[in-house]
């Protein structure tokens, strides 16, 4: 009986986390389009519901009723599995995100490694979709994205090492709590910039959306997808973007901590702060989409391997020597 109670309690907690994440993914798509339109002096989606808030729900409803077309020459199992993998991986990562000191689904020892692992698995949805379509454009898109995501993962890993040097723990709550006095965005500002750009590349956002560059590859890996399967790719992508924003705010912007520990700020509940930080990063993502032209593929690779990787490696050495010299290393 007690086990059953624990089981249902966990299910309830998972739903309590997943449903808000899914709803906020829908809202974030709307926000993205609105910000994009705002920059380009358009109105954006403003018809369905107040301010067009329900536009994404209407879109999702449309996708549900559309026909799912599976190409005859495709590898059907993998073709169907690909969007499911993308969506699942985008959602399971939320299990370790701490929204406050107590509100976290799984407070595991290696939380940041788990996040990193799940975000690096995200490439499989794309490769599987691109290969299983058995068509040229999706395959080219899949190859591009595989190379791109593997490259930028490396620099994200090195950036995480920078943060971990200052924390001394892989636990996400510890990472947030160690920023009580100083957010890491201040001492590690260059790393924050590189993390932000790598996150753009890791989530295939413009200006690095080469896997789905419409001018060259129609729609890249999702060319053959239709109906709800396309919608799952699309929602999974946005859930991934939110996840990257959450990761950035936990690593650099102090997670759920309020910026100043003074009266009007510290009464606001902790999860609100995390959400505000995620929104801030997301609006930056959306603005960049609107104002920066797309990179060429060789420029993308050059940026990742020849500029970001050496720079962040040098920064690791710098951070480590600084901490060593001033005897600030954690855990001593």
């Amino acid at each position: 009986m007690a086990e059953l109670f624990i089981f249902f309690d966990q299910i309830y907690r998972i739903l309590f986390l997943l449903i808000p994440v899914l709803v906020s993914v829908a809202m974030i798509v709307w926000l993205d389009r609105r910000v994009w339109a705002f920059v380009q002096k358009r109105r954006g989606p403003n018809v369905v519901g107040p301010f067009g808030l329900f536009q994404t729900l209407a879109d999702a409803l449309k996708y549900i009723f559309k026909e799912i077309i599976i190409p005859a020459s495709s590898n059907k199992v993998i073709f169907i599995l690909a969007p499911i993998v993308t969506m699942t991986l985008a959602l399971i990562a939320w299990a370790v995100i701490p929204f406050s000191e107590t509100f976290v689904l799984a407070d595991i020892n290696v939380g940041i490694l788990y996040l990193f692992a799940v975000s690096s698995l995200g490439v499989y949805g794309i490769i599987m979709g691109g290969w299983a379509s058995n068509s040229k454009y999706p395959f080219l898109g899949a190859i591009r994205s595989a190379a791109q995501m593997v490259s930028y993962e490396v620099s994200i890993g090195v950036i995480i090492i920078n943060v971990l040097l200052c924390v001394g723990s892989l636990n996400l709550s510890d990472i947030v709590l160690s920023q009580k006095d100083l957010w890491f965005v201040i001492p590690l500002f260059p790393m924050f910039i590189i993390f932000f750009i790598s996150a753009l590349a890791e989530t295939n956002r413009p200006p690095f959306d080469l896997p789905e560059a419409e001018a060259e590859l129609v729609a890249g890996y999702q060319t053959e997808y239709s109906g709800m399967m396309y919608a799952m790719f699309w929602l999974g992508e946005y859930a991934n973007i939110l996840l990257m924003c959450a990761m950035g705010s936990i690593l650099f912007l102090g997670g759920w901590l309020s910026p100043i520990d003074l009266f009007p700020f510290n009464v606001i509940p902790a999860p609100i702060w995390l959400i505000l930080k995620i929104l801030f990063l997301f609006i930056l993502f959306a603005l960049i989409k609107a104002i920066v032209p797309r990179y060429r593929y060789d420029q993308l690779m050059k940026l990742g391997w020849k500029i970001f990787l050496p720079f962040s490696l040098i920064y690791v050495v710098l951070t480590a020597s600084f901490l060593m010299y001033f005897d600030l290393l954690p855990g001593n």
């Binding site: 086990e3 590898n75 993998i78 595991i108 020892n109 290696v110 490694l113 788990y114 990193f116 692992a117 690096s120 698995l121 490439v123 499989y124 490769i127 599987m128 290969w131 395959f139 190859i143 595989a146 190379a147 995501m149 593997v150 993962e153 890993g157 892989l170 060789d298 420029q299 855990g331």
Partner: protein, 210 residues
């Protein structure tokens, strides 16, 4: 405890079945996908015995990077066709004896390891470094690798470096006639290098690219 056992058997069943499917399945790409499934279930097993750092690193390195590139290669090259040619051709393939040799060596190594475990259960006591169970295993790994085993650690790093340089040397080819972009050249260009004003005589024209 029962739940733990059930989960353990589920993961190990998935691991074994997918390992068999890697060798059995006809389609090479499917083999790689089963290999990935195998990696994932093995790392789940690692996490279940409390080696969470090892499990996560396995996910990141093997599944997140190595298997992606593996998949990449298998998709690009037509490996399935080659495999069929080897098996169907009348002449003996030279790959099979080598593969057999390697697998026999691995088999005997496994027998030695498992046999040692079975007949010498106090093997753990003979390890020089005592294991502190209070620390998380990330911490205890870190405190050992960079101090007591620093030479071995550096040595394996050197091996990886050599392998990396070897791979680059093997695949690198300098192509001629490729237009390369140099940011410094582009930025340091100014009006003098880019524009030339010429007084053109009537009915003569200008010769460009002189």
């Amino acid at each position: 405890m029962i739940a733990h056992a059930i989960v353990f058997y589920i993961f190990s069943l998935i691991a074994i079945v997918s390992a068999i499917m890697v060798t059995v399945s006809k389609n090479t790409v499917n083999s790689v996908f089963f290999l990935i499934l195998d990696f994932i279930s093995i790392s789940c097993l690692f996490i279940m015995i409390g080696a969470e750092f090892l499990g996560m690193i396995m996910l990141i390195v093997y599944v997140g990077a190595v298997a992606v590139l593996f998949l990449f290669v298998v998709m690009m090259l037509n490996v399935a066709q080659q495999k069929n040619e080897w098996f169907n051709s009348s002449g003996r393939s030279s790959h099979i004896p080598v593969g057999l040799l390697v697998s026999i060596i691995i088999f005997f190594e496994l027998i030695i390891v498992i046999g040692g475990w079975k007949y010498k259960p106090d093997l753990l006591d003979s390890i020089a470094i005592e294991i502190n169970t209070d620390l998380t295993n990330t911490q205890s790994l870190g405190s050992v690798i960079y101090t007591d085993y620093i030479h071995l650690f550096q040595l394996s790093g050197m091996v990886l470096l050599v392998a990396m340089i070897g791979a680059i040397v093997l695949t690198f080819r300098q192509r001629s006639g490729v237009k390369r972009q140099s940011y410094f050249k582009q930025i340091s260009r100014d009006r003098k290098d880019g524009i030339e004003l010429v007084d053109v005589e009537n009915n003569k024209g200008v010769k460009i690219d002189a």
